[in-house]
């Protein structure tokens, strides 16, 4: 190989080869960090919505998740409530608030409200809410304390690595079935043992060829 530098090249010229290398590495690290930062993951970023709906306000009044997200136990999709569900109460309560004008407009015209999806999985991923709920994975495990969010935001990245954290060790996250919709549930001190018992009770096959099968989600 021909020599890179002429014998008269000074230290600055020689150093430049190191600097170029560092710039390339620095650029790649920056890109990688950007994809892991809220800029890429959108964790904690509240999306603008037609109505600034507050999960905190509604769940603090004691409304169950399933009053609006009706199909969470039966379907892959948890369900976004029809305008009718809003109007059940808001035809009477706050019926003249300007903030709710889009809801009344939708009710009058029959045009749907258009919400901006906060939890958006890529199209090549299959996810089913009902099986997770049925096997003792609570809302707050993935969605965080939605009951403390004035505006809805993502609590977790929903990246594949994050999914696998649980699919590799579901005993750390599984909870009793009557606590699935309990937003304040925290794992007990002996979660590792309780979790294993619960998995056995729910007949969850934790074998890696099932829980980590590519086809489980990429079908």
């Amino acid at each position: 190989m021909a020599q890179i530098f002429h014998p008269t090249a000074n230290a600055v010229a020689r150093l430049s080869i190191v600097i170029v290398g560092l710039v390339v590495i620095g650029g790649l690290v920056t890109l990688d960090q950007l994809t892991r930062a809220p800029y890429g993951t959108e964790v904690g970023v509240a999306r603008e919505q037609p109505v600034p709906f507050s999960h905190k306000h509604h769940s603090n009044m004691g409304i169950d998740c399933r009053y609006c997200h009706t199909s969470v136990e039966d379907s892959s999709f948890a369900g976004i409530p029809p305008t009718k569900t809003c109007m059940n109460c808001h035809s009477m309560i706050f019926a003249d608030q300007t903030i709710l004008e889009p809801v009344r407009e939708s009710w009058k015209t029959g045009e749907s409200l258009q919400w901006n999806r906060v939890h958006d999985l890529p199209q090549f991923v299959y996810f089913n809410h009902s099986i997770h709920v049925a096997k003792g994975i609570g809302c707050s495990t993935c969605h965080g304390r939605v009951d403390e969010m004035p505006l809805t935001r993502k609590e977790n990245t929903l990246y594949m690595g994050w999914c696998l954290d649980c699919h590799r060790a579901p005993e750390n996250f599984v909870r009793p079935k009557d606590k699935v919709f309990d937003m304040a549930w925290t794992p007990p001190a002996n979660q590792a043992e309780v979790g294993k018992e619960l998995l056995k009770e729910y007949k969850v096959d934790t074998a890696h060829y099932r829980m980590l099968d590519c086809y489980l989600c990429h079908r």
Binding site: S75, I80, P82, Q114
Partner: protein, 148 residues
Amino acid sequence: MNETSFQPESDVGMTLSEARAQLAKARGRNYWRSLEQLASRGNFQAMLKREMPRQATDVEVSDWDPIDRRDFIRLMGASLALAGLTACTKQHEEKIVPYVKAPEELIPGRPQFYATAFVHDGYAQGVLAESHMGRPTKIEGNPEHPRV
């Protein structure tokens, strides 16, 4: 056809703007009828060749001049590297458009099945129709229909 109106001004071929200018001058029946006809005029073909990358003309079957192995690997390597760049994009925002009044017994994300019938040779044929939020996706015979 008035061929002269499409003669290029120089021997090196037309630029795209020259081609446009030529076409702008054309009136009535002097218009070209197909791109092939336009391309065969004057030096337009030469201009096209110059517009396209050199590598693209290398694979032309008419003048078979196989690319050597190194060029091929270089091209494929660049294509692969650039293909990765398409992943460097943010997921576009998606809308959720719920019902205003949800139909009864519909579970979003799950299909509904309707027992219905169509007329064949004057008789009703029982079928089951699969429906996703009102969109039929599959129709098959209904084995429990009395006519079967």
